[in-house]
Symmetry: C2
Subunit: 345 residues, 2 copies
């Protein structure tokens, strides 16, 4: 039986959300796991299960936990006889936002040969940047809202009402609905506090929004129910935060069969564009009966465990069917051949 | 005076090219540098200047060099009193292909807070994948050839002659010109040996190809001459390999002033889409007087030193004006506020 390493934290605006996510997973999973925390200054710590409480991190007490280092093959810990691997197997990445979702951790895992659940490097970079997500959707043949990308000082062409988001953040941070010109200065400040670029999309009043999570694991699709999340205009940080920790599975949304089927097909098209190895959540709009991709969450809050019945089975199936790395064997054929043709190089 | 760390090698099909590149830089740069080699099994080694010869690597003798480790702040080396930083400053990334150009090393440097010359994470991922390069070009308003992306077994719609390339490789590896159906089986085998996806583009007979390298450093554009590289139909590996080591600056291509100016403007548009901090080379076609982007080389062979007169100045200016990291300070405001609202979390 494998012992997954749940990795959370990171240098990101979603650091706290990641802590809450990991605690929710700690409560949801019955199998033995190891918890590794990535602090805001990018040190790894091995966390005792007894310490999986938000205040342990907020108070800074985690600094007394054993520090870990990432080395070839996985996490190591300093012992009497040098550095030794920790007791744990595949990493499950629940570091939301920067570090975890922007591709940095994926790159580290690839580089050091660590098997992990989570978006791969390309998928991370594309889904972390809302502009590139549009490209990905377009390549996958999936419809999204029209948009424009702006920098500070650019004139916005989209008419009000519109929604303004920092280009590279999740969890609703820095997002505003601009109903009239008067809302704009605050919205711009909020967005540009977090990024140098922002995306503008039309805000559609009373649009229905739906969440669908899932993965392809063990040779088959494991899709969640489709949830229609309760919302205010935009889910804010506090609300999402509390949302992850709920313990009741929501009811499936009442959707016409055709629309639900189309949403599942759209999910699969997105997932097939690079998300193998991860459990993602897609947020969709339904506009005039048509499914429109709003966002891809490649590491959804608490890994969307509350949307599934047999969650633990799914995570285990995913771990058992992670994409194989395509290792490259380096040779020196050219240097040898040129050397023999040219004499000593 | 800074002492740059030239990093080369990596687990990639272009491992050997990177070695030749680094040797060319060793010969071209007069200022003091440190050379760090990344072996095919992803160990870092500190290379003595006397050992900067291709055979030192091809023979495996590098394994006796001191091993380095990447830690917070930079490379460290084991000494009598634990691990100590090596004597060197910013990294100059000349690891071509996977690891160096696919975003893995960029991610490591960002994560560990290492200042470096080379493409950033997003720019790496986008330029390494020839499909995403099309997206980047389209976002930058830059013209490219029409294309299709294929997997093994897909029917190709583009009529012959066309050029078939693995989706994620540089240095002409696995590239074929398919003049008629008869060439296809070999071309497919060649491309799919290196990737699971390939890109098909029309092959334009007698098209003129041009290289332009440069960067934005010290507040101004530093652009190379425009070179029209000598070529057979497609530059092959051996030819490129030898090309990096040449020591004569080529003549500037004879181009109408307007076309040359348009090429420089196109270069800047590409560069401004995420390449700050790197010195890149763009390969262009000129078709009916119009500039068309063929490829972006975010780490060109031997960093294109042979295309510049005042190369060392440019590299130093680039090092002195690297993009600032946008470090995030993690706070625990939400956990504290929720904790006080809800009682102990």
């Amino acid at each position: 039986m494998n012992k997954p390493i749940i990795l959370f934290g990171g240098q990101s605006y979603e650091h706290e959300i990641s802590i809450v996510s990991a605690i929710a997973l700690y409560q949801a999973l019955t199998s033995q796991c190891v918890f590794v925390f990535l602090s805001g200054d990018r040190r790894f710590y091995l966390i005792d299960l007894m310490d999986m409480k938000a205040d342990y991190f907020a108070s800074g007490r985690y600094k007394k936990a054993p520090e870990l280092f990432l080395a070839r093959g996985g996490f190591v810990r300093k012992g009497f006889f040098g550095y030794a691997p920790i007791d744990g197997d595949e990493v499950v990445n629940v570091s939301h936002g920067a570090d975890g979702e922007d591709g940095k951790l994926a790159a580290l895992f690839e580089f050091y040969g660590v098997r992990y659940v989570g978006p791969r490097l390309e998928a991370s970079v594309l889904s972390f940047n809302k502009h590139y997500t549009k490209f990905l959707a377009s390549a996958a043949g999936v419809k999204t809202l029209p948009y424009e990308i702006i920098k500070r000082g650019d004139k916005i062409k989209t008419p009000c009402p519109f929604i303004l988001k920092p280009l590279r953040l999740g969890s609703s941070i820095g997002i505003s609905v601009v109903k009239s010109e008067a809302d704009l200065p605050f919205a711009l400040d909020a967005a540009f506090e977090f990024d140098n670029e922002a995306i503008v999309e039309p805000f559609i009043t009373n649009v229905r929004e739906y969440n669908l999570a899932g993965c392809f694991a063990g040779g088959e699709w494991k899709l969640s129910i489709i949830e229609e999340p309760k919302k205010r205009e935009v889910l804010d940080f506090d609300q999402k935060y509390l949302d992850f920790t709920r313990d009741k599975k929501p009811a499936a949304a009442a959707l016409p069969v055709g629309v639900a089927e189309s949403m599942r097909e759209t999910f699969k098209r997105v997932y097939n564009h690079g998300f193998a190895g991860s459990l993602i959540r897609c947020d969709f709009f339904v506009i005039d009966g048509e499914v429109v991709l709003n966002e891809i969450n490649p590491i959804p809050g608490s890994l969307a465990n509350y949307l599934f019945d047999n969650y633990e089975e799914i995570i285990n199936a995913l771990i058992a069917s992670l994409p194989e790395r395509r290792d490259i064997t380096v040779t020196y054929n050219y240097i040898h051949s040129i050397r023999s043709a040219k004499g000593k190089l």
